[in-house]
Amino acid sequence: MHEVRIHGRGGQGAVLASAILATALVEEGRHVMAIPAFGFERRGAPVVAFLRFDDRVIRQVTNIYKPDMVMVIDPTVARSVDVFAGTPAGSLLVQATQKAATELVVPANVSRVAVCNAVHIALDVFKRPITNTIMLGAFAKATGLVSVASLERALEHTDFRDAGLAQNIEAVRRGFAETSVLDLGRAAA
């Protein structure tokens, strides 16, 4: 089982991203349990969404405390919250940033870093800094555990409030194409 924690800010679509990723993973025959953390939601405040996926039925209907995959869809939210909290050795970070992977400071239990300049792509595609579906493309590139084709089929099942299907398909494709992955040469757990 993999446990994913998605960090973003209210209004960026972190919760919707977890539901789209869940749908894409089911397209590939997996079982999922995606739960949004809840609190005093407001635009711009740090938000978190959780996603478990496995080849077997998942029974735990709980939040995630030890994610082996962390996806950060906002470049600045890591200044406000500890996005690495609870991560075990051998974890993955997928980060929206204009920095190169080698420039990021990550703790020793992170063994792979994937970076994507998602805000730049978002301003290009959506004319607004909405990065959620771009980062799903980045997640696909970083993990190899979900295909762009499955993500595109999941997008077809999604009601978008702020953008069209074609734009979001382009967003996923560009996120996948413009993500670079760096293995840090550290052992997995």
Partner: protein, 400 residues
Amino acid sequence: MSKTVVIDGNEAAAWGAALSRPDMVAVYPITPQSSLVEYLAKFIADGRMEAELMDVEGEHSVLSVLHGACLAGARTYSATSAQGLAYMFEPYFRTPGLRLPIVISLVTRDAVSPQCVWGGQQDAMTVKEVGWIQMYCETQQEICDTIPIAYKVAEHPEVMLPANVCHDGNYLSFGVARVDLPDQALVDSFLGEKNINWHACLDPSRPMAIDPLTGGTAGGGPASFVRYRKGLCDGMQTALKVIVEAHEDWGRRTGRYWAPLIEEYRMEDAEVALVTIGSMSGAAKDAVDEARLDGHKMGLVKIKTFRPFPVAAMVRALAKVRAVGVVDRAVSFGWNSGPVFQEVLAALYHLPLRIPAMSFIGGLAGADITVEHFARAIDRTQRLANGEMAVGPVWLNEND
């Protein structure tokens, strides 16, 4: 053909309702139920559902509208939570006595004050003595499946009682998982010919007084009231059998055999047991597996049907254990324990031996009950079995 979708529990409930083809739904939004009734409105607007939707000014009107519709022979549905249920209480109390087979989803939420909009079972537990059937779901799939089952039970001629299908606010209402939507023809065939309220149908050509004045001390008054009350109790007891039959029928048609009254998990040789209810049960089962790996003979009993309380099944399940830990997602203020704990104690009184038991309370106001919390509850219940005194209740999130 069934269809696999990836949806949250509120959408699963909306699908369960839509597939049951209600004639009338009345709605008023409240967190965490709101998206459920929004899905119903969308299904109707999209032409996927033929029900008439009445958007009323509050929950008292929601249930009053359903009373009228149900008395006229309609299949009816709504959903509510916490303060909405509180505002609905006056007609809610009337519904079982009128023997109206209305189905309402309770998207369970903690009760205020203190102010809170998140999950907990305080709302549903507070109305446990009113005469509604209550079934609690563990997963999104079970929510979708249980709503048609609830209609089958509620409308059974020997039951004729309202039913609440309960699912946990937040964790199930907004949690997303894969759900196989049953085919419409399957649900149609399962529910059969619609025949609701044959005993009291509003018909201008056949005027009839509904809900006559009963009771008092004058001639036959006490006996008339007792007759209605006994009838309601009999209907509840009959429901236990009908709930089992309806779940078996559903299982034969879908391949999904949900435990109708209680689910016994690894209880065959269990010496110590946890009792759980609702979506917490999955993490509890994982914790039981871990205890088993450590060599402990641990088991779990999950309650699906809480009203009527499955006394015989519970007694059978717990007869041979040395200690029981009951995990509640609500508080019984009068007993300083969880409400399910008191129910389990009452059932255990049917046994000749006294089995030590302890109350654990967790998951209030949206708090999480994790595998680690359950591991603590298991450890404490094992110490209870080994002679350590019971204390209680244990508040699982006290230090979170």
